[in-house]
Amino acid sequence: MTVLLSVQGVTKRFGGLQALTQVTFDLPEGQILGLIGPNGAGKTTLFNAINGTYPPEEGRIIFRDRDVTTLKTYEHAHMGMARTHQIVQPLNELTVRENVMVGACFGRENQSLGHAADIADEVLEFVELKTRTDQLAGSLNVAQKKRLEMARALAARPYLLLLDEVLAGLNSSEIANMVETVKKIRNQGVTIIMIEHVMKAVMNVSDRILVLDYGEQIAEGTPEEISRNEKVIEAYLGDPKLAEKLLQED
């Protein structure tokens, strides 16, 4: 198994807040890694550290055998790293096709406009937005905007795709569709890290799961291992010993 991304001892502080502490993992090519944890655990911060938005104070990010820790975000994009944002960021005044062309122009392959349009059409078909190609991005509904966000990232032809809560705000049939799309992307050979709160979906689609709590990596393993892990259960459900104390007082 080739390691595509290696995160080594990554630490990030914001003033007095320790946002990430010594996060370390290897991501093999072609896998889906689910990144979970309670609110404020540091999941999006880890994405920002990996793709150069906020470089870490300590530790290293190795991507395709190259140290990319201090590179700029656009350099990460050129190297084949693309991401989506939790709050969708469409260019509302451009059409759906034009939005996706932006991804192709500034991604790994630096396409010319003509090629970028072809790639955009191909990707829009893949994410099932083809019928919306000439519409303004601002006129899409939430589920469609999520797909657009994904299409723009895919048009960059990434090796690694970082998905930040692509299922949030979707109804159950939209979630099922989106999960299928994520699987299809993986089957094309793209490696994926997905931050997700919709647990059934992320447990179902991920090869491995990494759990953050207060910036610390408290567990890593298969979905089955994670769902039985005591530290994880405590992080999500609270300390059973404290609850017992409360019961004993009665």
Binding site: N171, H197, M199, A201, G238, D239, L242
Partner: protein, 236 residues
């Protein structure tokens, strides 16, 4: 009969739907908890019940009256009171002034003295600090003040959004003990809480919300042993 009946409620923000057909019934004098993971819609449910957001569908009845469309201030005057998430205190006002702010409506004003005695008995620390600015209190004391301000509104039903978030274990225990005292006063409580173990340990009845829908409900002591609760949170 239930004092608060929430039937088939759907709501959300803008075009994003958060709640899908959720129903809850609060039994008079009982402590009911609503638990569930991040972003499943717990706060949205409380805000909808309170009238801070309009329900898209469904009905809410309080003491037998339909209040589905009633604004928050009307409900507060009827005795349905919310302790909001993140406390939302008036930090530049004193502890006493914050308590006064809880008791401004027609319902609460005549009972000001009685309710003030109640909250000082329940939280002696607040009496010691009554002249201090709320913003200078510790996190635990601020949470006590938020609950106390809610009690000053003379609630029949008190809804509390996140009692223990970010507090040290000793304080968590103290705050949970105050819930028991409130129940003894006959106040019906709906508790939203991220600490599921604690919430189920203290409650009479529990609801588990997952992805905007009620996934499980039952007597709290049964839910605490239920494998499905873990599943609802962790997906497996």
């Amino acid at each position: 009969m239930a004092i608060l009946e929430i039937n088939d409620i759907a709501s959300g923000y803008g075009e994003v739907q958060i709640l899908w057909a959720s129903s809850l019934n609060l039994e008079k004098g009982k402590l009911t908890c609503l638990v569930g993971g991040n972003g499943v819609g717990k706060t949205t449910l409380l805000r909808t019940v309170m009238g801070l957001i309009r329900p898209w569908r469904g009905t809410i009845s309080f003491e037998g009256q339909d209040v589905s469309r009633a604004p928050a201030y009307t409900k507060a005057e009827m005795g349905l009171v919310l302790v909001p998430e993140g406390r939302q205190l008036f930090t530049d006002m004193t502890v006493f002034e914050n308590l006064e702010m809880g008791a401004t409506n027609k319902r609460a004003t005549p009972k000001f003295r009685k309710n003030l005695e109640r909250v000082y008995e329940m939280f002696p620390r607040l009496q010691e600090r009554q002249a201090q600015k709320a913003g200078t209190l510790s996190g635990g004391e601020q949470q006590m003040l938020a609950v106390a301000r809610g009690i000053m509104a003379d609630p029949t039903v008190l809804m509390i959004d996140e009692l223990s978030l970010g507090l040290a274990p000793v304080l968590v225990l103290a705050l949970f003990d105050s819930l028991k005292a409130l129940r003894e006063l006959g106040i019906t409580i709906l508790l939203v809480e991220q600490n599921v173990q604690m919430a189920l340990a203290i409650s009479d009845y529990g609801y588990v919300l997952a992805e905007g829908k009620i996934e499980l409900e039952g007597p709290a002591r049964e839910l605490i042993k239920n494998e499905h609760v873990r599943e609802a949170y962790l997906g497996l």
